[in-house]
Symmetry: C2
């Protein structure tokens, strides 16, 4: 072989300093120093005794955060999308029927994933900002008789927290698994996997848990295990096959596999729920006093981790988020999917959920409304 | 909802100290302090200007490490298995024919993944420690007429580095994409993607690149892009869909997405190749002087990153690796797949590839052979 055709890129020879920034978008949230410091610990091998101990600890922590005794509880090595595919790939086989509740982008995404693997997808759809009653859900379960029902707990695109009570029982009445996406909500608003009859649930590390992205906690009930470990066909993905992952994680008392962060745990779940609620209400009150309107009408459906604010009339929302990023080094974001162009979104997740941060974002918003261009409405 | 059913696990209230350990198994390798320190930097959002800059830098770094000008070059958010599935999921459609060279566990794994998505899998198989001649490969290409040919560059289960020269041309003669797994070899032994006509190649972060696991560099040639961006059907995975990933990474000059580590880069590729070769030869000489035999007979087929040593006759290999872990706090490993029970494997990857480490592992091995139980052979 001759000498190198591609030379070392100059840009990589310079050190790169990552700026400190207050991240109040819908995620990632800020990671506290004690957690980033843990990321600087040495790497272990995937079969070392300490790794197995750490994985068991992570499992306990996820069981606590999810409020579950599920044996099959672990963290997928990947972002939230990997956990979403893990849940759908393992629980559905080609041609099986799934019912997906769509009240924002995450239901749409689940439908897209289920379609790709050849599941029979039926949907229950409502407009942005809405959610479903248990009656509507039961009617759809009765009509479509799915093997899995997918629901988004915290719909970060619209700022809606979906009621969960009673839905597990309905699913089980119709012999269906209850699958819940709680990426943007878990830890910030109450959810109890076992008590609420949830069969499969996952979250992300980079939201309320304030850990770096790249690991995604997931858990399967015994009822779910009956289904996923007795499939006719192998799941489409080897990487996300729960037969292998459950084995890696010692969920069947066999050897386990590599993990990286011991950071995804929160202490005091009830305190966390309470704080997120109080801080969100404090924020909503402040927004009201500024004359800004909330996108979600129904108070109890407002997601405490991600607030959607009706985009201030007469302004370009991009100018507002850009002004706040530039002037305050603070991230807030625009809408997503069904809320694109209609809202501003402010995430107050984990350590970012504090009245001090609310005061900062209210000040920044007020200043932005003063300085950004306003057309006549 | 009543009070919590699952209480906070006691184990999580204690701090956990990760031990320093010399990791000379087939990966993960040790991560230098300057790289773990980078992992302790603040998290950025996926659309922040600095993130886009970092992603462009990572792209340049991968282009350098892979020796390619490929526009579609990025890092998958996941372990090596995710990159393997990304390569296979995107390049093959249901029913299409793939030829897989199997001389160890990684070819077997690729065949399993391709089968799961319904590809028509043909294999070219040789015994553990062996590899294929270009004539054998051409005969198989001619016979099976696959759309993709899969080859493992560094077969870590047997310690074989596969010759690459000429195979790209053969593949293109038969209108086939050349897909190379270089997880255990890249950076430690020469490979030049463009010059050698490789269409798809991926590696892992936790081997020679000495970064934490969880990101996997991958690159696609223009010829590969012609195929993957003109599919009849969508790839089975949304998470690993190159249409979306290429867009996230700005490979089509649109916005880009989150990454975490700026650590996967090596400086001085030719120096790295040279060092890995010299250190491996120094190690192999030392092993010979101790009376130990190498598993791979053909000198030029010996992978410089992972050395396979014939398990010393009369010993239980588990006792040897256990003794070295306990006495020296050093990891070496046994065989895997076709080499299970037959070999000891020693990885000397990236910063771990040094004569000082060779001296340490030779001393540990000599000591283990003295202290471990030996039966009459």
């Amino acid at each position: 072989m001759s000498s190198l055709c591609v030379l070392p890129p100059e840009c990589l020879l310079q050190p790169f300093t990552v700026p400190q920034r207050l991240m109040l978008g819908p995620g990632p949230s800020n990671v506290p120093a004690r957690i980033t410091a843990a990321g600087a610990q040495p790497i272990l091998g995937h079969l070392h005794a300490e790794t197995i101990e750490i994985m068991n600890q992570i499992k306990s922590g996820i069981q606590y955060a999810f409020q579950t005794q599920n044996r099959v509880t672990l963290a997928v090595s990947g972002p939230g999308h990997a956990a979403m595919e893990c849940a759908i790939f393992n629980s559905l086989e080609h041609g099986e029927s799934v019912l997906i509740a769509i009240n924002g982008i995450w239901g749409e995404r689940a439908a897209e994933i289920a379609e790709r693997i050849g599941a029979k997808v039926n949907t229950l759809v409502t407009s942005a900002g809405g959610y479903f009653t248990n009656e509507e859900i039961e009617q759809a379960l009765d009509k479509y008789r799915p093997v899995v029902f997918f629901l988004t707990h915290g719909e970060s695109s619209t700022g809606v927290v979906h009621p969960i009570d009673g839905i597990g029982d309905l699913c089980h009445k119709y012999n269906c698994l209850f699958l819940v996406d709680s990426v943007a909500a878990l830890g910030g608003t109450p959810i109890c996997m076992d008590e609420q009859g949830i069969d499969i649930m996952y979250t992300g590390s980079q939201k309320v848990l304030n850990a770096p992205p790249g690991t995604a906690p997931i858990s399967f009930s015994e009822r779910a295990c009956q289904k996923i470990f007795n499939r006719r066909t192998k799941p489409i993905s080897y990487f996300l096959d729960m037969n292998l992952l459950a084995n890696y994680w010692g969920c069947d008392d066999k050897p386990v596999r590599v993990i990286k962060h011991l950071n995804t745990l929160i202490k005091g779940l009830e305190n966390s729920w309470k704080r997120h609620k109080e801080v969100a209400e404090y924020f909503h009150k402040g927004l009201g006093e500024m004359g800004l309107k909330l996108f979600v009408q129904d108070k109890k459906a407002r997601l405490p981790t991600v607030t959607t604010i009706v985009a201030p009339p007469g302004y370009d929302w991009r100018e507002i988020t850009g002004y706040i990023m530039k002037t305050y080094n603070m991230e807030i974001s625009g809408g997503l999917g069904p809320s694109a162009g209609m809202v501003l979104r402010v995430g107050l997740m984990g350590c970012n959920s504090s009245k001090a941060n609310v005061d900062k974002v209210l000040e920044a918003l007020a200043d932005a409304l003063k300085h950004c261009h306003k057309s006549r409405v």
